[in-house]
């Protein structure tokens, strides 16, 4: 948290211009890129950034490691989807419903879990999220249970009679995702430069000290959780409408909660752009491993013969072990970059600057 004035001068101005250029490019991207797979990856990255950044507000800034964030993601996904599918409420209204439900759930979970600290809070957050998964699985009349909900039709978005989009391509989802990402990053930036941000970080650093400095732990932890939950539900709603199918084992599962935490840990916890980096690393990595892109690349480039033992290992075995490789890579990154990719790059540049001086 440096004074703003320093950021506007010199290096900061350069960064601001670069940032605006990136945003402009991202807005123009669908005009040049027709490849739906590329857009699909971008949308997945956007969803990951939104959920990572939302978690970051609670985990990174306030230091409360919730491993139950799938609850809020699921609340967004289920509310939006149920309203759309069973009540014919279009998703751009449903999203608000999702936010309200996520907020209510956050207040309930917060009032229970924040009585606990550290590892006990983590365990409680997992347990409470599991309650929601099991409930969604068993309340068949409301949620369709394990069958999940399939979106049959998304109503076209019209403003005053003119058709804006009918959601037939990936482009509207791309723009929605991009707007959500910009919104979440703006919220993070505003928080970092406000009293709330200072209080969140004080609680992260030492909650007893923070308490003695006039910070109400109950109030500010719940505020952090509420903001985080509402923003996470945005990611859930977008995911549900985009993929068109949700069930308890995808949107309310423990792996999703872990995935959300990983995005932040890999990118760099408690920084604005950490979750962005984390999503940019993790989403393409998991996609490449899932589709066995790396193995195919090695074989097609001629580095490995397809009929050799190693080649057949790549095509036969490795493609089935993508989760294992993903896990190993994540462990390696955490071992060698404990502050995330962003922290690693910062220490590297600092070291180089020292050597140059």
């Amino acid at each position: 948290m440096r004074p703003l004035i320093r950021d506007i001068k010199g290096f900061g101005a350069l960064r601001a211009i670069a940032g605006l250029a990136v945003i402009a490019l991202l807005f123009l991207l669908p005009r040049f890129v027709e490849n739906t797979y590329a857009l699909h990856i971008m949308i997945l990255i956007f969803i990951s950034i939104v959920m990572g950044s939302s978690w970051n507000l609670l985990g990174g800034y306030t230091g409360q490691y919730s491993v139950g964030h799938c609850a809020y993601f699921g609340m967004g996904a289920y509310t939006t989807m149920m309203l759309m599918q069973f009540r014919q409420v279009p998703p751009w209204f449903g999203i608000w419903g999702g936010m309200v439900v996520a907020l209510l759930v956050a207040l309930i979970i917060g009032s229970i879990c924040f009585r606990l600290r550290g590892p006990y809070f983590v365990l409680a957050s997992i347990a409470v999220a599991e309650i929601f998964r099991v409930s969604a699985l068993n309340l068949k009349e409301i949620t369709n249970g394990a069958e999940g909900i399939l979106a049959t039709e998304i109503p076209p978005l019209k403003i005053g009679g003119t058709l804006i989009t009918d959601f037939s391509s990936k482009v509207p989802f791309y723009y929605t995702g991009l707007v959500f990402v910009l919104f979440v990053i703006t919220v993070t930036w505003l928080l970092q430069n406000s009293k709330l941000g200072y209080y969140f970080q004080a609680i992260r650093e030492d909650q007893d000290a923070a308490h003695s400095l006039g910070i109400s732990l109950t109030i500010y932890k719940n505020v952090a959780l509420s903001i985080s939950a509402v923003l996470t539900s945005l990611a859930g709603s977008l995911y549900a409408v985009y993929v068109g199918f949700i069930d308890p084992s995808t949107v309310l599962a423990l792996d999703l909660s872990v995935q959300i935490v990983l995005i932040c840990i890999i990118g760099g916890i408690g920084t604005i752009f950490g979750p962005v980096i984390g999503a940019l690393v993790l989403v393409p990595l998991s996609e490449a491993l899932r589709s066995n892109m790396i193995g195919e690349f090695l074989i097609n480039s001629g580095g490995v013969k397809a009929d050799s033992a190693f080649g057949s290992f790549l095509t036969e075995n490795l493609s089935h072990a993508h989760v294992l490789i993903y896990g190993i890579l994540v462990v390696v990154v955490i071992l060698f970059m404990p502050d995330g990719v962003l922290g690693f790059v910062k220490t590297l540049t600092a070291r180089k600057r020292k050597e140059a001086a």
Partner: protein, 237 residues
């Protein structure tokens, strides 16, 4: 009128009594020394006064108001601030940000909080460190940072828990001067300290605790000549 009245405060942890029936009063602007052997219940008393533990019995009246059931953040807002025996810097935040967190207790504007923080940083003499991370400071400067941070909450009363612990004589002297300077600002202080020479110099009155009970109270001279106190510290013949 007394600014702080401790009325028959007892604190039990299970069967163990950490404080039993401690009573004393403090007048506005004075420095009260709180001494006693290890385990005498000094820090427990601090925790009871500042809302970390509810006293098992008795009451604490601060500024004419009972502190019963108040959380530490409310206690701080009412104008009573404490430091910690084991310093608690907000390690990954800069020195000025640390002090700003204290100042934000009184204002919502970051700009105002920053100028209030810089003022207190000057009072303790850490201007040259204001942009450093608090976690990187040596112990002497961390102790000063603690004091600056609580001063920024604009307290009427300060409770300092062993601010000189672990410091060399030169650093201790700086803290003594700081405590005397704070007294000149009209802030009432209660000081826990093991360094007898220092506590004799700064205190207006001293309360001695032993095994959770108040053993003696009086001016520094009265306390050192009290045979019970000598026995508690040095053992009897």
């Amino acid at each position: 009128m007394a600014i702080l009245e401790i009325k028959h405060v007892s604190k039990f942890f299970g069967g163990l009594s950490a404080n039993s029936d401690v009573s004393f009063e403090m007048q506005q602007g004075m420095i009260m020394g709180l001494i006693g052997p290890n385990g005498a219940g000094k820090t427990t008393l601090f925790n009871c006064i500042t809302g970390y533990y509810p006293p098992s019995k008795g009451d604490i009246i601060f500024d004419g108001r009972s502190m019963h059931g108040l959380q530490p953040d409310k206690v701080c807002k009412l104008g009573m601030a404490r430091t910690w025996q084991k310093v608690r810097p907000l390690a990954k935040m800069s020195v000025v940000d640390n002090v700003m967190v204290g100042a934000l207790c009184r204002t919502n504007s970051l700009k105002k909080a920053r100028s209030m923080a810089m003022e207190q940083i000057k009072v303790v003499g850490l201007e040259h460190r204001s942009d450093f991370l608090a976690g990187g400071l040596p112990i002497g400067e961390r102790k000063k940072l603690e004091v600056a941070r609580v001063l920024a909450t604009q307290p009427k009363m300060l409770l300092l828990d062993e601010v000189m612990g672990g410091l060399n004589p030169a650093e201790s002297e700086e803290i003594i001067q700081l405590i005397l300077a704070i007294k000149k600002l009209g802030i009432t202080q209660m000081v826990i300290e093991h360094d007898m020479k220092a506590i004799m110099r700064i205190s207006d009155r001293i309360v001695v605790l032993n095994s959770g009970e108040k053993l003696a109270e009086g001016s520094p001279q009265e306390v050192v000549s009290n045979p019970d106190v000598v026995t508690a510290y040095l053992g009897s013949e």
